[in-house]
């Protein structure tokens, strides 16, 4: 029987949400392919997560005990290689998450597996068919994995609705010979990025600017506009990278997840990592000169226009 293997993620004692999205993806393939669905968790004390991972549709939870307290990519590689060898899955699903970026491609490369990352949809046609973006999400591609016994797909966060519903899958400990030497990096500590003067996660109205602003000196115009409109100013990552704006104002995967009533975006292309932060926004309005900018796929209102010209006119409306 075909097996789909989902690799769940945990961090600092908690299962990460992506795990349930992967289970949902696995469940879909299970139905299309008539497969069985196994969920693996590699952690220092994996048993504590087994119950929570037993959602509806999961046939088996596989636990692997890690010699390290925290995720370590080389341990994760070895564990997954052993799981693939023992369980012979036709499809392995990982998150396209920071942890999995550290080991998924390594396992695929050394194992000669079929492989695609940042996958947004999965179909089954005698084998997996994956869909992902191309040219920074302006296009989509479809990929096949001919002659591959096993294919590893790294699935974009948010591409699947998380699975819910209790299941009754048994847990099985998979013994993998991992010793402390399997780890090739040494955890020192976790640290939170310094918080700043504002809490953009609490804002009802965010006016957000991206690289379209072009120059540090142009930011002032939008600070003034935000003030006039009663909005809080937030930014995309490049403005923080350039040192123009503090970390606390950054929206996105590595910044803040925001949930304003209105998110007014100027000169932001809408990269997936930015989108990750605005899924909970009520109304998204995007102003961008590029009609193909991916932000228009998720915005509620869009305008193909120059952000400076629109900002100037808006300022007049709110004088």
């Amino acid at each position: 029987m075909t097996t789909v293997l989902v690799v769940a993620e945990a961090r600092r004692g908690e299962i990460r949400d992506i795990s349930f999205e992967l289970i949902a993806a696995g469940r879909q393939v299970k139905e299309k392919a008539g497969a069985s669905l196994a969920v693996a968790i590699v952690a220092a004390e994996p048993d504590r997560f087994a119950d929570a991972l037993t959602t509806e549709g999961v046939d088996e939870v596989l636990t692997v005990t890690s010699p390290t307290e925290h995720f370590e990519p080389h341990v994760a590689s070895q564990a997954l290689e052993a799981l693939i060898e023992r369980e012979r899955p036709a499809l392995v699903l990982l998150g396209h998450s920071i942890d999995s970026l550290g080991f998924g491609p390594a396992v695929a490369a050394l194992g000669g597996l079929g492989f695609a990352s940042d996958v947004t949809a999965i179909d089954w046609n005698g084998g997996p068919v994956a869909r992902r973006g191309a040219y920074g999400d302006k296009l989509v591609t479809e990929l096949e994995f001919p002659d591959k016994e096993c294919t590893l797909l790294m699935v974009r966060a948010g591409a699947f609705e998380p699975a819910s519903g209790d299941g009754s899958a048994p847990a099985r400990a998979v013994e993998v010979e991992l010793d402390a030497g399997a780890a090739r990096s040494e955890h020192v500590e976790f640290r939170e990025v310094a918080t700043g003067d504002v809490d953009i996660t609490a804002a009802e109205f965010l006016l957000s600017i991206g690289r379209g602003v072009e120059d540090k000196d142009n930011i002032e115009q939008f600070e003034e506009l935000a003030e006039a409109m009663g909005a809080t100013l937030s930014v995309s990552r490049p403005l923080v990278d350039a040192g123009w704006m503090p970390n606390a104002r950054q929206v996105g995967q590595s910044g803040k997840t925001v949930k304003p009533e209105v998110y007014l975006a100027f000169g932001i292309s809408g990269a997936v990592q930015h989108q990750a932060g605005i899924k909970g926004a009520g109304t998204i309005i995007a102003v961008n000169t590029d009609p193909e900018a991916p932000i228009f796929n998720i915005a509620h209102y869009g305008a193909v226009a120059d952000m400076f010209e629109v900002a100037e006119e808006l300022e007049k409306q709110f004088e």
Partner: protein
């Protein structure tokens, strides 16, 4: 010390573009530029070399002749030499095939450190670096936002950026491969003089045969085959507002006031 920086010349689509067929974009609508992430990894390498007061920074890329411009810009910023690897069969190569090819070239350099970008802005695989590390048998750290190299112990203390503003500090023994995240430093610009001087720096062109690779090994390393390239289904998409900037502003103001008035 020797640091290899793996860089990619990426394709940026024009605002308006067309497909050439159901697998490719019409090249007339494509601009080529050095991958944003790779500017940061090059800068990190240059800073390490400068701090050590000795050493060599080698830029390596798999790409056709469009890539020369990107490699020349690396040389102008301070890389000591560059290597461009190409073979017709590498067109459309997936990240695993590219990693396999890069591994053959990087191995010959016996580097102390290999730096890649977290991702390339056109393909967004986030995969080539870690796959390359696997082939080289090097320890790796992905998504690095701070790098502190200690020459005495040949170790790197790095910060890895996790989701939601969490950072993990960790230590790794070199030689190692790091994938570098934007914002780790402030990439320099090349001076006009340096751009001129870069013309005399070595840029080697090598083929698969020079690396002891045969095309079969590369294609079997590939992880996927692209079967279709298309415009995304728009879904519901945005309601597009039209008109002059003043008219747009009026509509936007209305929408905003209705919701947060």
């Amino acid at each position: 010390m020797r640091i290899v920086v793996s860089v990619k010349q990426v394709a940026a689509l024009d605002d308006e573009f067309e497909l050439a067929d159901d697998l490719h974009v019409d090249p007339d609508f494509v601009e080529w530029e050095l991958n944003e992430w790779d500017n940061f990894s090059l800068e990190a390498a240059l800073q390490l070399r400068e701090a050590a007061g000795e050493g060599e920074v080698v830029a390596v890329s798999v790409g056709d002749s469009e890539t020369d411009e990107g490699l020349r810009s690396c040389l102008a910023k301070g890389a000591d030499r560059a290597i461009r690897i190409w073979d017709e069969g590498l067109e459309d190569a997936d990240p695993l095939a590219v990693a396999r090819v890069l591994a053959a070239a990087v191995e010959r350099e016996s580097p102390d450190l290999v730096l890649c970008g977290v991702q390339s802005s056109d393909a967004v695989n986030g995969a080539t670096g870690v796959a390359l590390a696997a082939h080289l048998g090097l320890p790796r750290v992905a998504v690095v936002t701070s790098l502190d190299y200690d020459q005495a112990t040949n170790t790197a203390t790095v910060e890895r950026e996790l989701e939601g503003g969490l950072i993990e500090v960790l230590r790794v023994q070199c030689p190692a491969l790091l994938t570098i995240q934007t914002g780790i430093n402030e990439p320099r610009y090349a001076t006009l003089r340096a751009i001129k001087q870069a013309r005399d720096k070595p840029l080697a062109e090598v083929g698969l045969g020079d690396l002891g690779l045969d095309p079969g090994a590369v294609s079997s390393a590939a992880g996927a085959r692209r079967v279709r390239l298309a415009h995304p289904e728009k879904g519901e998409g945005a309601e597009m507002l039209t008109g002059s900037p003043a008219e747009l502003a009026t509509r936007i103001a209305e929408i905003v006031r209705e919701r947060v008035g």
